[in-house]
């Protein structure tokens, strides 16, 4: 058995062990690993995640037990001091001596600290290890105790520096980034993209100082500031130095290996140093006169070293190493690939820049227009995986290459299918998993979903950046096998929503039971019941009062159930216009029933904390005062938000409030696949945020511009222009058609934005249907909508007038008691639910 000693237990050292253990030859080798840090290898790439959970275990590459199971001796907290090449022996700081057959140096790098006067002062840190972070955390806590507005600077505006900036910000300190160069991330970004990144980072609270050469660190014992020049001083109480890395190559120097002029142990394409028994991998290795500070090349080097040692000598490092990288910096996507800065002599660049949205995309195209040479993405790197693959595999690009980066709504389209990639395309570069590996894990390996594929291949377990592409690959592969689960509602119906909608409409079935008996099987569930309820509502405009038990709880009780089982009440306040008398009524009702009140985002008033038996009493009073249901509980039209418009505003072009009231009243009570929100703005200043709604109107010269399919929420999306300069009547006509078309064709719980995303042909197709009536259904849609409008009835009025319905509003069947487990506690002069202990 041959003995291997691995010096360094970082990510790359760990990867070496993992790959050797996985090889068929592993039984012929005994591995001993030395780590200088007190813990086993952890994921340094995600170091800033340590701030979020402070859980060092979560970052571990593998637990200590893994080494044991694989017969690896892991010796942590012990530094290797010297190598005696003639006797093939190492000696540690604790005077332990061991011999080796192969020695693998994976000592990594340390933070480079420039020789600035005063850099040794208290409060100056480097950003490299968990211990560094713990030191920073402790110091930051002390600072904040003295001064809640304490400031901290990061020296270095590169990739690591910005990560450190995020860490500092998470610690609650005012973050300042100080960079010597005139731009951020000088190695990855060009000047314009760097500027876009800077604007974005400034908008989220980072202070950025460029072109600053630090002359000295000020302060007695501890740092109080940085001096850049005379009268150019930044007051900070903590400094994190992140000005680059230096290879930890002392061992190489001491034992006389060939070294690079500026450090690093020279290796050949087998990862061998000048001593053939000694390998160097990762950030300590100088390959092609370069130190590679990224994890993917480090992993590749580990793989090459393993193969060389087990005598698979054909596996060598390629001459050119792909330095493409994609990361999320403080929530901002940044990616660069191939040749990000291409000289004009080699090709042409296509650049898309939108500073207001902090977006920048650049692709570099060869002079013949046929291949992609590289590029830069800031703000939205969702195209990265595809672009990177196109670049790596030299794939053909569209005749109009701008389609690769233009937003889909402006004529661009995503590039082909993931299945078009060659099988050799590397999808997960951290783990070196190819497209072929992923597809065959499904076609031959029996995997059926993302979880299976991850377990089998380890894809996505490195940086995780390839997850969207892996998911696409899995879905497309399953689809190609005919394995894809049909888009059905649930186990009780083998139809999608649109098909069932059509069936209910033409078959004249009368209730849920009949629908289930006729078209479905089993006994129903919480997915198909409300869906069928919604279909009935949009076919016949019936309210939830007719079939209460198939409604979601909110619809069944015509109120929003809240966290302690109480309900909230929202009367309609169309377009947010409310009289003083109405305000008084709401105030009086809230007072009488002791309800917590809050203004909602939809310009109305929410009354919280009502018990089920109080709902009818509350509504009797509200209805007597002229209010009606606001349908805040339904998958239905909520509000049409308005700005004050030409009525009062000196900029207003049309009467936005009046029109918003008309529209809200037209579509009130309309049930749909998901909630619907609208907005009307009186001028392009857009105070009603109409473009964040499912439909929005903006007053312009000559009428209204109509935007559709926007939303806020988890995936915010701006509504897109459907038609311009419309008069009131045409707006209503188009809205009728648009809404009815959406209601007929959308999947359950799909809002308008994702519905449009999936609509073949997108907004252009929607325009044809709604504006040009390409399907010849416009009149049908209008008639259908008018029918629903005519049949509107306030369901709360209906409820309080029916004894049968009123029986529902009772907590116990066998007692008039109310639920005595509900408890409230005071908060800011109102009340809130008591949390369970």
């Amino acid at each position: 058995m041959k003995k291997i000693i691995v010096v360094g237990n970082g990510m790359v050292g760990y990867k070496f062990c993992e790959k050797l253990v996985a090889s068929s030859e592993s039984k012929n080798f005994k591995i001993t690993v030395f780590g200088e840090e007190p813990r086993p290898a952890y994921d340094r790439v995600h170091l800033s995640a340590f701030f979020e959970n402070q859980d060092a275990k979560a970052l571990e590459m593998a637990p200590a037990a893994w080494y044991k199971e694989n017969n690896i001796d892991l010796i942590v907290d012990e530094k290797v001091d010297n190598i005696f090449r003639t006797t093939k022996t190492i000696i540690t700081a604790k005077s332990r001596q061991l011999t080796y057959d192969y020695l693998v140096l994976a000592t990594g790098s340390s933070a480079f600290v420039p020789p600035i006067k005063g850099v040794e002062k208290e409060g100056v840190f480097v950003y490299r290890t968990i211990e560094d972070l713990e030191g920073m955390l402790g110091y930051a806590a002390k600072l904040k105790a003295k001064n809640p507005h304490a400031r901290a600077a990061v020296l270095g505006g590169g990739l690591l520096g910005l990560e450190a900036g995020k860490a500092v910000m998470d610690m609650g300190l005012e973050p300042h980034i100080v960079e010597f160069a005139p731009k951020l991330m000088p190695r990855q970004l060009d000047a314009r993209s760097s500027k876009v990144l800077q604007l974005k980072l400034e908008s989220i609270g980072l202070n950025i100082h460029l072109n600053k050469a630090t002359q000295q660190i000020l302060g007695e014992e501890a740092i109080v500031g940085m001096e850049f020049g005379e009268e150019d001083v930044l007051d900070v109480e903590m400094l994190v130095v992140s000005a680059g890395i230096r290879p930890r190559d002392e061992l190489g120097v001491n034992c006389g290996l060939t070294m690079g002029a500026r450090g690093g142990i020279v290796v050949n394409n087998k990862m061998q140093t000048s001593d053939e028994h000694i390998f160097a991998i990762g950030e300590v290795a100088l390959y092609n006169e370069m130190i590679y500070g990224l994890v993917a090349p480090g992993y590749d080097m580990a793989g090459v070293a393993v193969n060389q040692i087990i005598s698979k000598v054909a596996c060598q490092m390629p001459d050119e190493i792909d330095m493409s990288t994609k990361l999320k910096l403080i929530g901002v996507d940044v990616a660069s690939f191939g040749e990000p800065f291409m000289p004009a002599s080699k090709g042409h660049s296509i650049i898309f820049e939108n500073k207001t949205q902090h977006l920048y995309k650049r692709i570099n195209i060869s002079l013949d227009g046929k291949s992609l040479l590289g590029g830069i993405l800031v703000g939205d790197a969702s195209d990265y995986n595809m672009l990177h693959q196109v670049y790596l595999n030299g794939m053909k690009i569209p005749e109009d290459p701008s389609q690769l980066i233009l937003p889909a709504s402006e004529g661009g389209s995503s590039f082909g299918s993931v299945l078009d990639l060659p099988d050799t395309a590397q999808v997960c570069s951290c783990e070196s998993i190819s497209k072929g590996d992923i597809c065959s894990s499904i076609t031959e390996g029996g995997c059926n979903n993302l979880g299976d594929v991850i377990d089998k291949t380890k894809a996505t377990t490195g940086c995780g950046g390839c997850k969207p592409m892996v998911t696409d690959l899995i879905n497309e592969t399953l689809k190609s096998l005919g394995k894809e689960v049909k888009e059905t509602i649930c186990e009780h119906f083998d139809y999608n929503r649109q098909a069932l909608y059509d069936l209910v409409k033409v078959s004249q079935v009368s209730d849920y039971e009949e629908v289930l008996n006729t078209f479905g099987k089993g006994h129903g569930c919480e997915i198909c019941k409300p869906l069928v309820a919604s279909i009935f509502a949009t076919v016949t405009m019936e309210t939830p009062n007719r079939q209460p038990t198939i409604q979601d709880t909110n619809d069944r009780f015509l109120a929003n159930i809240q966290r302690n089982g109480t309900y909230s009440v929202v009367p309609r306040v169309a377009a947010g216009e409310i009289t003083p008398d109405q305000l008084i009524v709401i105030g009086e009702v809230a007072k009488k029933y002791d309800l917590y009140t809050k203004i909602t985002g939809g310009q109305r008033i929410d009354l919280f904390g009502a018990q089920v038996h109080e709902l009818p009493m509350i509504w009797k009073e509200l209805i007597a005062a002229g209010f009606e249901s606001g349908h805040a509980y339904g998958k239905s039209l909520r509000t049409v938000k308005s700005c004050v418009g030409a009525t009062w505003c000196r900029y207003g072009m049309h009467e936005s409030v009046t029109f918003a009231i008309d529209i809200e009243n037209r579509y009130r009570g309309l049930r749909s696949p998901h909630k619907l929100k609208g907005g009307v703005s009186g001028c392009i200043r857009e105070c009603a945020e109409a473009r964040g709604k499912d439909f929005g109107l903006i007053a312009v010269e000559g009428g209204w511009n109509l935007y559709v399919c926007g939303n806020g929420g988890a995936t915010p999306k701006h509504a897109v222009l459907l038609a311009e300069q419309l008069d009131d009547e045409t707006v209503v006509k188009y809205l009728d058609r648009f809404l009815m078309f959406y209601i007929r064709t959308a999947g359950p719980l799909v809002r308008t934005a994702p519905w449009l995303d999936k609509l073949d042909g997108g907004i252009a197709y929607l325009k044809q249907v709604v504006v040009e009536d390409s399907l010849g259904i416009a009149q049908d849609l209008e008639i259908e909508m008018q029918g629903l409008v005519n049949r509107y009835e306030c369901e709360w009025k209906q409820a309080i007038e029916s004894e049968e319905v009123m029986k529902r509003f009772k907590h116990f069947v066998n007692s008039d008691d109310t639920d005595d487990t509900i408890e409230f506690v005071p908060m800011r002069d109102q009340k809130k639910p008591k949390a369970w202990v």
Binding site: G524, E526, T549, T553, N564, H811, V813, S815, D819
Partner: protein
């Protein structure tokens, strides 16, 4: 010892009045311990909770027994009745009787209205395999009256 209240005027309650302590729970554990599944052969007390027509069809309704809240499900489609604790153990809210009922692969179930946790009405297990369980109680229908079985 908290105040003792006398309750009167229950709908379809047995004539005898009984005592209970207002619910002031200290811990989640204490509440959960109130609800233990009862199997039919162990029932010591069949408690009448109303007539069958008092219970809405194909959904749940809540009844009160001493300090317990029990959800009773009138599953007309299968002709069966079920009873479980009303408390959803996920967020400790008294809401299960408001949930929609149905089946998953033939197992009758209720879906909590708050976060759609699914529980088997037969044995109270969470159907997604989560570590949550609700107590179930036997239901008996005699002469159009609905009875729930308790240990005490």
């Amino acid at each position: 010892m908290a105040t003792i209240q006398v309750l009167q005027g229950f709908i379809s309650l047995p004539k005898e009045t009984y005592f209970f302590q207002p619910l002031k729970f200290k811990t989640v554990q204490e509440i959960l311990e109130k609800y233990k599944s009862v199997s039919e052969e162990n029932v010591n007390q069949w408690f009448k909770v109303g007539k069958t027509e008092d219970f809405p069809e194909n959904t749940g309704a809540c009844i009160k027994y001493k300090t317990k809240q029990i959800a009773v499900y009138n599953f007309v489609r299968t002709g069966k009745w079920y009873a479980t604790q009303n408390l959803c153990p996920h967020k400790m809210e008294m809401v299960l009787s408001l949930g929609m009922i149905g089946d998953k692969d033939g197992i009758p179930k209720v879906a909590c209205p708050l976060h759609k946790k699914n529980f088997s009405l037969e044995d109270g297990t969470n159907l997604a395999g989560e570590d949550l369980k609700i107590a179930t109680y036997p239901v008996k229908i005699t002469d159009g009256n609905v009875y729930i079985g308790f240990l005490e």
